[in-house]
């Protein structure tokens, strides 16, 4: 029975929130070497507003829990005070989720007449 409950919860959580979507997209773009520092920079660049680290960690953590990204640790470096980097890689499920979002967006825009905004 508990397994069943877990399934329902997991199913519900498959949707991407907006920050999650942006972070996931950033990881995709960065390809290699996607760890927090460049992710934050890139995300700020894409969205045009400053992201705090806190705003990056939470979606990253959720993405990982949902199985859209997976992380690994590389060797510690002195510049990081002897701490290792946590490198994120997008998984197949992650790519699929992004593709779904894109498809959804395109479907929505396809039927909409052209309009311009200032």
């Amino acid at each position: 029975m508990f397994y069943f409950v877990r399934e329902i919860i997991a199913e519900k959580m498959k949707f991407l929130s907006r920050p999650e979507e942006i972070i996931l997209f950033t990881i995709l773009k960065l390809k290699e070497d996607a760890y927090c520092v460049p992710i934050r920079e890139k995300a700020s660049e894409i969205s045009g507003k400053e992201w705090s680290f806190g705003a990056v960690y939470v979606p990253l953590h959720r993405l990982e829990k949902k199985g859209f990204v997976k992380s690994s640790f590389d060797d510690p470096t002195p510049i990081r005070g002897g701490r290792s980097r946590r490198i994120y890689k997008i998984t197949a499920a992650g790519i699929k989720a992004l593709a779904e979002v894109r498809e959804l967006q395109e479907n929505m825009w396809a039927e909409t007449p052209e309009f311009s905004h200032e």
Binding site: F2, V5, R6, Y35, C36, V37, R40, S52, F53, G54, A55, Y57, V58, H61, F73, P76, T77, P78, I79, R80, G81, R83, S84, R85, R86
Partner: protein, 860 residues
Amino acid sequence: MNKTHPPRILERLLDYILPKYVGHTALGDFAEDYCRIADKRGRSAADSWYLLQIAKSIPAFVINSIRWGFVMFRNYMKVTLRTIRRHKGFSFINIVGLAVGMACVIIIMLWVRYELSFDRHHQKADRIFRVASESEAYSPPTKMVVTPPPMAQALIQEFPEIETSARLSRGGRKKLFSYGNMHFYESFFAVDPSFFEIFTFEFVEGDADSALADPYSIVLSESQARKLFGSQNPIGQIIQFDEKTEFTVTGIIKNIPSNSHLRRDIYIPFETWGKLYEEPLHAWRYWSFYTYVLTRPNVNIAEIETKFPAFAEKHGIPKQKLLLQPLLSIHLHSHFQGEISPNTHVSTLLLFGSIAVLILIIACINYMNLTTARSSARLKEVGTRKVVGAHRSQISRQFLGESIIMALFSLIISLFLVHLFLPLFNSLAERHLALNGDSILQILPGIVLLILFVGMLAGSYPAILLSSFKPITVFRGGEKKGSQKRRLRNVLVVAQFSVSLILIIAAFLVNNQLDFIRIKEMGFDRSQIVVVPLHDNKIRQNVGPVLEELKRNPQILYAASSMHLPNQVGASTTIKWPGKTEDSQIWVKVSEVSYEFTELYGINILEGRSFSREFPSDENGAFLVNESAKKIMGDDFRLGIGLSHWGRPEPSGQIVGVMKDFHLNSIHEEIQPLYIYLNPNRGQHLSIKIQGGSIPDTIEHIRETMENFSPYYPFDYRFFDDVFNMAYIEEQKMGKMFGVFASIAVFIACMGVFGLSAFLAEQKRKEIGIRKVLGASVSKIVYMLSRDLMWLVLFANIIGWPVAYYAMNRWLQNFAYRTNIHFGIFLLSSVLIFAISFVTLGYQAVKAARVNPVDSLRYE
């Protein structure tokens, strides 16, 4: 890139804030960015960036945890309420126990707040000081708060730091005031006009500057004015003081709050009073007035005090070490001779504070024991939560939260209890505490801390224990009965009972010491003595005929006049005798009395004789000294030598005898050297020893006599016993309060035992059934059920005894004369604890043992 590193302290902070799932790599991320910025824009820019990042990161984490926290909180709340409802008995014990404990702590908090608030309503309180002195002329050195009358003026003149000063006198005792047909004895303060400038009294009528400017003006409190004049305008009314003086009302002040060490309803000018009573207002050797000073802002008190020795030398009082007592420290820290109102010892507050905390801890132990004892009932819940994915920390947070919710419930009940029992406490402690919005607001931080303390303490052990269950064991076949769990519970029970036992022993011993004071041989007789204050100057100066008239009644054995009662000898002076080296001043206690004084009070004469009419030479001056005074005089002492006193050069009479030492003041103090001088005409009191027969008739005779001799003054009398007991009222209050608190502690501990034994009986239901089927008697089963807990109580006794002995021994050191610590008290307390716990236990055990085995075994 340079290898700069973010400051350690900031990293620690960040590490603390970051949720654990982020892990150490996050610190690395921050360090990396920090490094880059430090490279580009310098270290300080990097530092502020780092701080900013911390600040910015907080909301994202907090919001996340709050949202989920709230969802879970609703669930925890629901489960808690369900548990309370399902186990009404245990919840009742828990909540009531905690509520009583918290009520004790809240009352003590209110009390402490009240004691700390003394004299704070005076606006210049931080600049007001009282002059006190430590006299090295006495042996042992004596600390006192009285000063000579010229000192106040001298201080203003010689110390630029002192803005103004005021003298205050209590005027000896209550005096007769009259207005119209109303005659009443009332205490008052005689003060300098500057008194109202130094202290803040709110004037309803008149004003502070001019109120006492006129030598025949008087200031009353609002309540006093209402009593006298009703709704009439009080200003300008004339009040008769004693027999011949008239004072005009010039000011009415608001009633003085009870948390003030200066409280009187009547104020008259100091100078006028001094003239009326022929007080030596220029004498530097006449120490019986209070001096208050107002310093200029921002002066250094220590600096003033360094100049005091020269000041004292200049005015001929070299052996007095003068001090300045801050007004705000008087109530809690000044315990000198001659205090105006009884002050509170800080140690008393600490003592009752710790007792209240102990009671609270006992209640918390109840909670821990009952919660963990019933942990099996929650096993499945914990197991399920863990299976669904709860982390251990979440489970323990749930149980901590539960105990905090319980604490909140208890708080509500405890506030109700405080409201109910505060009047009782007020009458016990003679305080005016109130539970209202104002006082609650002031102790609010304390209450919040209290909730957290109770929640954390009571919830900690259940949280640790319950969160440690492994789901697999839970679901496979129940938790094995861990002996470790029971051991800790036993330790807690032992601790509970040790504390209760110590409190009981302490309560007994405190009351023992008080009884000891009450019946201790003070060196004078206390029974069947009537004391009549001498208000009338005419009688005072010619007391002989009154005494003779009084003695006409055969029921009156002795009648004597005296300056002081034997338990409150207040005056002191220097004496000289032949052979005494000139340079050393010896201060001794002094009183002046009439014939029959020593016989009346049963004071033993060790050498020589008492004052006697058979020796006409006594009329020319005679002294009695006590043993301590004789010791001071050393080899110079002989019966018959002349003695000069009050600073006179010539001897005023000769020593006729030596009295056995008797206690001159509180029993806390050692007996000081004393002499008494035969002079019936400076008496303040008549003492009358009566014998059996009808006491009301005898008192009627005394009344008639007094009214004959002084018709103007209403008759006023007290029994010496009562006067004597008044001095120990503080201790008696303390003894009673101690008893109450100790009983509460025992009560809560017993409630715990009650709950625990109910649980044990429930757990062994089937065992009891089987034993009974196999032939066990009820008494056997009661024995089986109570054995374990009774062992614990015995153990508590073994621990409690030495601790109580040590603690009480320390406490008794405060008294100069103390009772022995009787072994009997310990035994009695233990028997009491055993009896009470056995009754609570026995009730459950008998109930369980009498159950019909059919009922407990029918499902097998």
